[in-house]
């Protein structure tokens, strides 16, 4: 194996070993209860999202209102990321928390209306039914705006570029600034897990679920989710960090009406199509 690839593969292993070896440091008068809830909460949140995803024919938990549950879960990121900044009792974290909520106001409304589009088209809130309804044409093809808003929302809830101002370099790490040791490991793992979970939920919503030639359905779900997560991270790393004061206006004035228009088109196709 070439040295470069080997050391790139070792990065997550080395970081994990480093953080496991590190003794977590506390800050003066930190709100330890809320801080711990926040730092350990992101990973279970991602797991709860993954539980909703239909792997091929059936999900672990088949839920008639899976889309709404996904939405409810992604709103928990609001609480957890803000508490992460609050718990440390330090300015960078607190400002990071404020930034996250401001950005969340920007990405969440387009995301909510983006979730409506596939649900209207499939006439169901069940992720399994929505996936099955795409046997003819994947929803991403005729709902590109909704898909875009959804992807932006996934980047936002996993605090990833370009919506990573809450953990920005200009805030010395923001909500991550005071985290060390295993707490930091849990948060970083949680952020990756949220990105993957968001990508996995996109598969039944927009990417045809487990449909695909030759391979079994569950493997197609895994492949599609992995590819989308990788693509989101790759696109994000080529974009600058966008502060809330840059994002909010275009998110509400441009993206939100566009997504509403997308919903209108989908509704018209369903009624008259």
């Amino acid at each position: 194996m070439p040295d470069r690839i080997r050391s790139a593969l070792l990065v997550p292993v080395a970081e994990t070993a480093r953080l496991l070896r590190q003794r977590p440091r506390r800050t003066v008068e930190a709100d330890l209860l809320l801080w711990r809830i926040a730092s350990s909460g992101l990973l279970p949140l991602a797991v709860l999202m993954l539980v909703l995803v239909p792997w091929g024919d059936r999900a672990l938990v088949s839920d008639p209102v899976g889309v709404v549950w996904f939405n409810a879960l992604d709103v928990f990121a609001w609480a957890l990321v803000w508490l992460l900044g609050w718990g440390a009792n330090a300015v960078y974290g607190l400002v990071g928390g404020y930034r996250f909520l401001a950005l969340a106001l920007g990405y969440e409304l387009p995301l909510m209306f983006a979730l409506i589009a596939p649900a209207v088209a499939a006439e169901s809130l069940d992720l399994g039914v929505i996936a099955a309804a795409q046997s003819g044409l994947w929803y991403v093809v005729w709902m590109p705006v909704a898909f875009l808003a959804y992807c932006l929302g996934v980047l936002g809830m996993s605090v990833r570029a370009p919506l990573d101002a809450a953990a920005g370099a200009d805030l010395a790490g923001g909500v991550l600034a005071e985290l060390s040791g295993v707490d930091r490991l849990l948060v970083q793992a949680g952020r990756y897990a949220l990105l993957v979970a968001g990508a996995a939920v996109a598969v039944p919503l927009f990417l045809g679920g487990g449909a695909g030639p030759l391979l079994p359905g569950w493997l197609w779900v895994v492949l599609k989710a992995g590819a989308l997560a990788w693509a989101l991270a790759a696109v994000g790393s080529r974009l600058p960090t966008l502060r809330p004061d840059r994002v909010l206006q275009p998110a509400w004035v441009v993206l939100l009406p566009l997504v509403l228009l997308q919903d209108l088109v989908v509704a018209a196709v369903v009624v008259w199509g």
């Binding site: 050391s7 070792l10 990065v11 292993v13 080395a14 970081e15 070993a17 480093r18 496991l20 070896r21 590190q22 003794r23 977590p24 440091r25 506390r26 800050t27 003066v28 008068e29 440390a88 009792n89 330090a90 300015v91 960078y92 974290g93 607190l94 400002v95 404020y98 930034r99 570029a161 370009p162 990573d164 101002a165 920005g168 370099a169 200009d170 805030l171 010395a172 790490g173 991550l176 600034a177 005071e178 985290l179 060390s180 040791g181 930091r184 790393s237 080529r238 974009l239 600058p240 960090t241 966008l242 502060r243 809330p244 004061d245 840059r246």
Partner: protein, 323 residues
Amino acid sequence: MGLRGLLSRLATRRVHVLVAEAPAAHEVRRALEQEVCRRGWVLAGAAADADLLAVVGSPGRRLGEVVERVWDQLPDPRVRLQVGHVDQVAGALDAARAELADTSRQRDAARDRPSGPQPGETDHGEMDHGEMDHGDMAPSGIPLAEGAQDRDGLEMDVLHLPLGPVLRHWPAGLVLHLTLHGDLVGQARVERLDEGPRPPSETGPDRMLDAAASVLDLAGRRQLADRARELRDPARIAAFRRRVLADRVLLWGLGGAGSEVVLRLDALLGAAAGELDQTDPRSGAVTDARLAGLVRGRDLGEVRLLVATLVPWLEGDREAADA
């Protein structure tokens, strides 16, 4: 080698380094940063994320006190080093890594350390109202936050944040005392630690590119920043300048095409490429008083970007350079 040895070897594969830079040591700082990146290590943004505190140059009394407080904030295992010369960098980093990997020694050091933070060792990150005493309303000496009117006349909580002096992409020895309403700057006051005669401003291409790279780093464009640091040839710098100015999303994220930050970033790259007139009004030079006025009412992130564009002039003495 046992499991423990393997763990400590893996754990010190990517050392996270926090740099504390004394005035007039930017060349050593740059050499250190280059060496850290060459080894695949990481430059940390905050004390909690660091294994190694690298003190660059020779800090005066006040900066020395701050460095001690930052050192107290590093989680165990931790190492510190001091370098004063470019030639010492690689050796000092090797020694620091070996010390970091020495588990038994680290454990002994950690045992002697009081567990949990000591009240009063608050540093830049934390709210610092030190002197006041409100009895029961002030656990660990931190009183209730005060309110003040923000820019729009709303009564809001006030946070006190000293920016600097141990901060990435920040002029050495400079502290900007801010009051914040959320993420908006209210009042600002500039302080210089260990004020002495400053060296004349250096405005060579290296210095300009380093400042431009800092701006790109702060804006979240790591790869672009690394490319800026590697540039040498004026023609390629000029091409890079055109490329940055054509990146609409980047400019928009920095505050828009006509914003102060973008104008000054363009001036930095222009000066590095030798394309800029020396008398260009954008080419830097702000006094400390002007800086305080410049940052009031701005977003905290915008303040960081703006100061990063001014590092060459804020570290050096412009008038001495002109004379």
